[in-house]
């Protein structure tokens, strides 16, 4: 219990630091939300009046304090450019990003574990060498390019999906998940390639350890040595990576959403940044940071479950 309390406290401190930092950074770069809000009707007087109304003339820390106080009360503010409550904007975008990231995570595991184990089991074989080369190529391709490639190959040539034909989960959940199939694959591929490489080398080095010989001496087959003895040990370094990859994928989904035309968190984040729509940006940052922190906490717990030598206390 004390452990959980400590973890939650750390999370709060981290969130505070992240939001404050983003807030300050945002006020240091040039740009003014008021000009984009007023557009062609912007006169110096009007702009000044609006600035005064939004409280943009107050010192930065006062503004931050006001934002933080509102946030703690559950009020994320009103978007400058859309003139609607930020919470409403986020609420239907969040499930899109979370679903896509989780699908990418599942992809990564489904690809990485069997392929990594196979490559390790047949170390030095033809298939292993092919996997290594393909891995290198995939790792070198950034997700957005993989996204474009996938759109071209599966969308334009094979016509397996309609590029830009996003269906909202509120309209048809099945089609929604179907549309996310390829975007999540694009996010997952480079991470899966890294996970394969890591798992392969981890399994190979575990196979040289003494306990493997003990397992053979009891009459285990190669298969059961691999699955019942080695896999759990070999997963220990991989789990750390999977956790980091999941956090990365949450952030990486922003770009992929652009490529595939998916209206998720990433999209509103990008438009709000260019509009200097502070309340929206802050809310999205808080969402992403919270997701990353929660993922890290889950990884810590799983770590303790897999490796008895590490106690969570």
């Amino acid at each position: 219990m004390r452990y959980a309390g400590k973890k939650i406290l750390t999370m709060c401190v981290t969130l505070f630091a992240v939001t404050l930092f983003v807030f300050l950074a945002f006020h240091m770069i040039s740009g003014d939300p008021v000009t984009s809000m007023l557009g062609t009707q912007a006169t110096p007087e009007r702009a000044e009046a609006l600035r005064e109304e939004l409280g943009l003339n107050d010192p930065v820390l006062v503004q931050y304090g006001r934002w933080a106080a509102g946030f703690l009360k559950g009020d994320m503010g009103t978007s400058y450019s859309y003139r609607m409550p930020v919470s409403e904007m986020i609420v239907d975008k969040l499930p899109v990003t979370i679903t896509m990231t989780l699908m990418a995570f599942v992809w990564m595991i489904l690809i990485a574990i069997p392929v990594g184990l196979y490559a390790a089991k047949h170390e030095g074989g033809v298939v292993d060498r092919i996997i290594t080369v393909v891995n290198q190529i995939i790792m070198a391709v950034p997700p957005f390019f993989a996204g474009i490639l996938i759109t071209f190959v599966f969308g334009m040539i094979f016509r397996l999906f309609t590029p830009g034909g996003y269906v909202s989960y509120q309209v048809n959940t099945g089609k929604f998940v179907g549309y996310l199939f390829f975007p999540s694959l694009a996010i997952a591929l480079p991470k899966a390639a890294m996970a394969i490489k890591l798992l392969r080398s981890s399994v190979i080095s575990e196979l040289k350890l003494d306990y493997v010989r003990t397992a053979y001496s009891r009459g285990n087959s190669k298969r059961s040595v691999l699955y019942r003895h080695v896999l759990k040990n070999a997963m220990i370094p991989v789990i750390t990576f999977l956790g980091m990859a999941l956090s990365d994928m949450i952030a990486g989904s922003i770009i992929i959403e652009q490529v595939f035309g998916i209206p998720g968190l990433g999209r509103i984040l990008l438009t709000s940044i260019s509009n200097r729509d502070y309340p929206v940006v802050m809310a999205v940052i808080v969402c992403i940071a919270t997701l990353v922190l929660v993922v890290n906490m889950i990884v810590d717990v799983i770590y303790g479950l897999v490796d008895p030598r590490i106690s969570v206390e």
Binding site: L209, D210, Y211, R213, T214, A215, Y216, S217, R218, G219, N220, S221, S224, H229, K232, N233, I236, V306, D307, P308, R309
Partner: protein, 266 residues
């Protein structure tokens, strides 16, 4: 019961093939304890691993015959070999600290051979495993059953290894330097435990060590190896008191040092 004839082991992992064991012969009868002595690199561990069917590297060539219950363990298929491993032939190793799987519970590891070779139910396996842990003189076997290797000392882990190797009542126990990594006082206890197991269960033991005094305490018959060859072969007393080979004499001459160390330690 087990007869090894003309065992030769050759490596190919360097430029020139390298033979590590030449014309190794050994017969092990029921209930017998045979010692295999020699310095490191003399080929004793290689011979033991070959008998346990644990040498399967591609860069290695094995010649000869290891006959056990009418089967030649050197050239039978893997499946047949696995039926013997852990079931008829148990093995314990030098490094108790690393020979157990660090992420699996002791109980799981002790009863593994039962899971692989018998149809016993989960409850029966647990009962047998706890009995076995008790037999190797571990206190609170129920608690040890639920523990992980890192929670046990080296001596306790070696007892766990013995329990795991003995759970199917094998006919042969191969002990590859089981006491080398342990404190002197623990060494004596492990040797006494092996002796008791041998008397109670009539398990034949192949005891590999470079410590002639331990071998003399435990074994009836001793083989001395050097540079891949068996240089001397006879009863323990004969070899201990009337060594023929210069090399054996040297090994015996090395013992007093160990004895002095024991006195100082205790």
């Amino acid at each position: 019961m087990i007869r090894v004839t003309d065992l030769n082991i050759e490596f190919f992992d360097h430029e020139r093939p390298e033979t590590v064991v030449y014309d190794f012969d050994l017969t092990l009868h029921e209930g017998e304890i045979v010692g295999l002595v020699g310095e490191s690199g003399s080929g004793k561990s290689m011979s033991a691993l070959a008998i346990a069917g644990l040498l399967s590297r591609k860069d290695m060539k094995k010649r000869g015959e290891i006959l056990f219950e009418g089967v030649n363990l050197l050239d039978c298929d893997r499946k047949t070999l696995r039926k013997f491993q852990g079931n008829e032939i148990g093995m314990i190793f030098q490094e108790p600290m690393t020979s157990l799987n660090p992420v699996k519970k002791i109980g799981w590891q002790v009863e593994e051979a039962l899971r692989l070779h018998t149809d016993l139910s989960k409850e029966e396996r647990k009962k047998r495993a706890i009995e076995m842990l008790q037999k190797v003189e571990l206190h609170e076997p129920e608690r040890v059953y639920e523990q992980y290797p890192h929670e046990l000392s080296g001596g306790m882990r070696q007892r766990v290894m013995i329990a795991a190797a003995m759970i199917c009542d094998p006919k042969i126990l191969i002990a590859d330097e089981p006491t080398t990594a342990l404190d002197v006082t623990i060494q004596e206890q492990i040797v006494a435990l092996l002796k008791r197991i041998n008397q109670e269960k009539k398990t034949a033991i192949l005891f590999i060590s470079h410590d002639l005094s331990l071998v003399h305490q435990l074994c009836e018959r001793v083989l001395v190896m050097k540079g891949g060859y068996v240089v001397e072969n006879g009863s323990a007393d004969e070899i201990f008191y009337h060594p023929k080979e210069e090399y054996t004499k040297k090994l015996i001459a090395a013992i007093p040092k160990v004895v002095r160390k024991t006195e100082k330690d205790s």
